[in-house]
């Protein structure tokens, strides 16, 4: 029995639909693109850990839930700080962005170029990668890289799976774990409501020491290189974020080695979406090949069974035939034997009758 038409149509239709989705995966090149996209250069040699940027970020975003589609005015977007922003002692702790905090500045004790100990402060927030792992990971496209450079989050479709948090190489996104009904992924928005119209983010504007520079990313790379050239003793000769994980919008210059100020230096330069492209590309071939291959196995098995069936029937037929023949032979033999026996008995009976007649005749003559 071969595959029914219903099964075939069902298989083909579904294969078609899911194949299309699979080939979409290959076709989507959503991320690198706009050469005019913005960035921010953070010069850590200028940062003194005053936390003004943290305060400005909070003020700007505490009632604003910026998302891609609409600017929602949303009260209570960020909870009030547990420690006031003018308390600088907390910079000694290892704080990180979280479900209620978009950016933190931490203090690191590092070794300067000439071997002396010095404090270096580092502002940490979403890096707004050119090819974001989070956007690639999101199965409902809740995170997207805008053409202005910001990676923004849409809480209207987020299911809360938190794969974006797993994927982020910098472990930036936080989650509102204590919110039972409307928990959101939270991270720096690059003040998209500002940068989408060309204005710098609140933190950049508020910084009293000019630590951060907002502009076109390509310009900032040039600017950073100029800084290094002009003051080679002041900086490590590398722009962090220029090539890391395929390049990020937020880049850093540092007076000490980057791994001394909390940066991971083992992330490589491969954009993260590349890492799953290989796997996703096998989906269409599997969909197209597995079906026929398995149906082939099924057909082969069916044929094998049919042949086995026929052989069995033939074998049974032969067996029956020979059994019948044997039975006939046996019957014939028995018949012959029975006939012989009957003949013999008849003979005996005749003999006996003749003898008895003789005897009777003899007895009569004797009287």
């Amino acid at each position: 029995m071969s595959i029914s038409r219903r099964d075939f149509l069902r298989g083909a239709a579904t294969t078609g639909v899911v194949s299309l989705c699979g080939s979409n995966a290959l076709a989507s090149e959503t991320h690198t693109g706009n050469p005019d996209r913005y960035g921010v250069l953070v010069d850590l040699s200028l940062c003194s850990g005053c936390r003004t940027c943290e305060a400005a970020c909070y003020e700007e975003n505490k009632n604003r839930d910026t998302n891609r589609r609409t600017d929602n005015e949303h009260e209570g977007n960020l909870p009030p700080p547990r420690v006031p922003f003018d308390d600088l002692s907390v910079t000694a702790t290892r704080r990180r962005p979280s479900g209620g905090v978009y950016t933190v500045v931490n203090r690191y004790q590092a070794q300067g170029a000439t071997g002396q100990d010095r404090n270096v402060y580092r502002k940490l927030q979403c890096f707004h990668c050119d090819e974001p792992a989070c956007a690639s990971a999101c199965f409902v496209s809740a995170l997207t890289k805008t053409k202005e450079g910001a990676v923004v989050y849409n809480p209207n479709v987020c299911v809360g799976c938190r794969y974006c948090m797993t994927a982020c190489p910098f472990s930036i996104p936080g989650y509102e774990y204590d919110n039972p009904l409307t928990p959101r992924v939270k991270k720096c928005t690059f003040c998209y409501h500002r940068t989408s119209v060309g204005r710098p983010p609140a933190c950049v504007e508020a910084c009293p020491y000019g630590v951060m520079t907002f502009g076109k990313r390509s310009d900032l790379v040039r600017f950073a290189n100029e800084k290094i050239l002009a003051h080679p003793e002041r900086y490590v000769h590398q722009i962090y974020g220029e090539n890391e994980v395929g390049g990020t919008a937020w880049m850093y210059l540092s007076p000490v080695a980057f791994d001394q100020v909390g940066f991971r230096t083992d992330l490589g330069t491969t954009p993260y979406p590349e890492l799953t492209r290989g796997f996703l590309s096998i989906v269409p071939p599997v969909l197209v090949l597995w079906g026929p291959a398995l149906m082939g196995v099924y057909a082969f098995t069916q044929r094998k069974e049919k042949l086995a069936e026929r052989e069995k029937r033939d074998a049974v037929g032969t067996a029956v035939a020979s059994a019948v023949a044997a039975a006939e032979q046996k019957a014939a033999k028995q018949f012959e034997a029975a006939m012989k026996k009957a003949d013999k008995e008849r003979e005996l009976a005749v003999k006996k009758a003749v003898e008895e007649t003789k005897k009777a005749t003899a007895e009569q003559e004797a009287k």
């Binding site: 774990y177 409307t182 098995t301």
Partner: protein, 378 residues
């Protein structure tokens, strides 16, 4: 009031209030999840391990319906039921973990993230649940006595089996592929471009072992339900499955070693995590391979059963290693995640509900025995 029922009642009495707490007060009230560790025990055990252990459905169905290995016919229905319930419980467990579980259909109807491996997983699990239901439905229709519907459902079996294998190949490997996006977080001995293959191959092993394990339990617990004809073949079936498992375990072990070579990670074997990795591949892959081989050679079904249990534990261990234990391995000890007692309690609760459902179905529907009106189960 059997001991099992008493324990089950106790588990339900604990699980239901925790469920209430989790859904009224948020994830923080019931879990130790954090921003650094967004995925914990519910993902590592209920989702990752659950899907692997539910693989018996597609493995057994393809063996019987596609490869014509008729001798396993007696375990197909229980295997498919285990598979269907397994996947269903995965979805239940997932609903505990998701921030907004009512939005679970979103990747299917609202917004499509086609670059995401998780998108693939979501679609496939949904389609696969349906497929497993179709494969199991003849049993339901026999129970209800709906002869015509049952006939139609049976005709779909081969197509559903083929579809099930396609889906399983993709989503079992996709669950592993999820971690391809975390090279900086998964320990190098477990991180490999071969993760998808590891997950797929080990799902076959998990499926075979779970069928051995489940049929052994069923034969003891539901001894009065089983067809005498099936009861007699039980050992033969067990050893047949064990033979398959031994072969695939051999291949899996080979792949793992080649994976170390590919990553050039030999020197890592002599670290703490290295020893743990060796424990996993030697104690839970190589050893079961040797034990299954021994069991088959000596026709020792009891050894096969115990080995199946060891193998199942090994699969769970592997999934937990990749998703939780070897994940974030570089974080200092005080920042590492450990599940809260409530997370574990919920997982035990979900498994218990699964067992109770399995028992309810098996006591009513023709799963362990053939319905007298439908002797041609095909």
């Amino acid at each position: 009031m059997t001991p099992f029922n008493v324990v089950a009642a106790a588990i339900l009495a604990v699980g239901i209030p925790i469920t209430f707490i989790r859904f009224t007060q948020g994830l923080a009230s019931a879990t130790n999840l954090s921003d650094r560790t967004p995925w914990g025990f519910w993902i590592g055990f209920d989702v990752m391990s659950g899907v692997a252990l539910a693989a018996g459905g597609y493995v057994t169905a393809s063996a019987v319906y596609l490869f014509g290995m008729k001798k396993f016919h007696g375990v197909v229905r229980p295997a498919i039921l285990t598979g269907f319930l397994g996947y269903f419980l995965v979805v239940v467990g997932l609903c505990y973990d998701l921030g907004r579980p009512w939005r679970l259909p979103y990747p299917m109807v609202v917004s499509f993230g086609v670059t995401s491996v998780l998108f693939l997983v979501g679609w496939h699990v949904a389609l696969y649940l349906t497929t497993q239901f179709v494969e199991f439905s003849p049993a339901i229709f026999e129970w209800l006595g709906w002869k015509e519907v049952r006939r139609v459902a049976s005709m779909l079996t081969v197509g559903a089996t083929v579809f099930g294998v396609i889906l399983s190949t993709l989503h079992q490997s996709a669950l592993g592929a999820l971690f391809l996006l975390a090279p900086a977080k998964v320990h190098p001995l477990w991180y490999s471009p071969y993760i998808p293959i590891f997950f797929f191959v080990s799902s076959i092993i998990a499926g075979l072992s779970m069928v051995i394990f489940e049929s052994s339990l069923s034969h003891r617990v539901f001894a009065d339900q089983i067809d005498p004809e099936h009861a007699g073949e039980h050992d033969e079936i067990t050893l047949g499955l064990a033979k398959g498992a031994a072969v695939v375990l051999y291949g899996y072990f080979a792949f793992k070693v080649i994976g170390i070579a590919h990553g050039n990670d030999w020197n890592l074997l002599n670290t703490g995590y290295g020893h743990w990795f060796l424990a996993e591949i030697l104690g839970f892959i190589l050893l079961p391979c040797i034990l299954f081989t021994t069991a088959v050679r000596q026709q020792n079904a009891t050894l096969a059963r115990w080995t199946a249990l060891l193998t199942v534990v090994g699969i769970v261990l592997n999934r937990l290693n990749v998703s939780v234990i070897a994940f974030n391995w570089q974080l200092p000890a005080e920042e590492r995640y450990f599940p809260s007692w409530m997370e574990i309690a919920v997982s035990v609760f979900i498994v218990t509900v699964g067992l109770l459902t399995f028992r309810w179905i098996v006591e009513r529907m023709p799963v362990l025995w053939e319905h007298p009106d439908f002797k041609d189960v095909q």
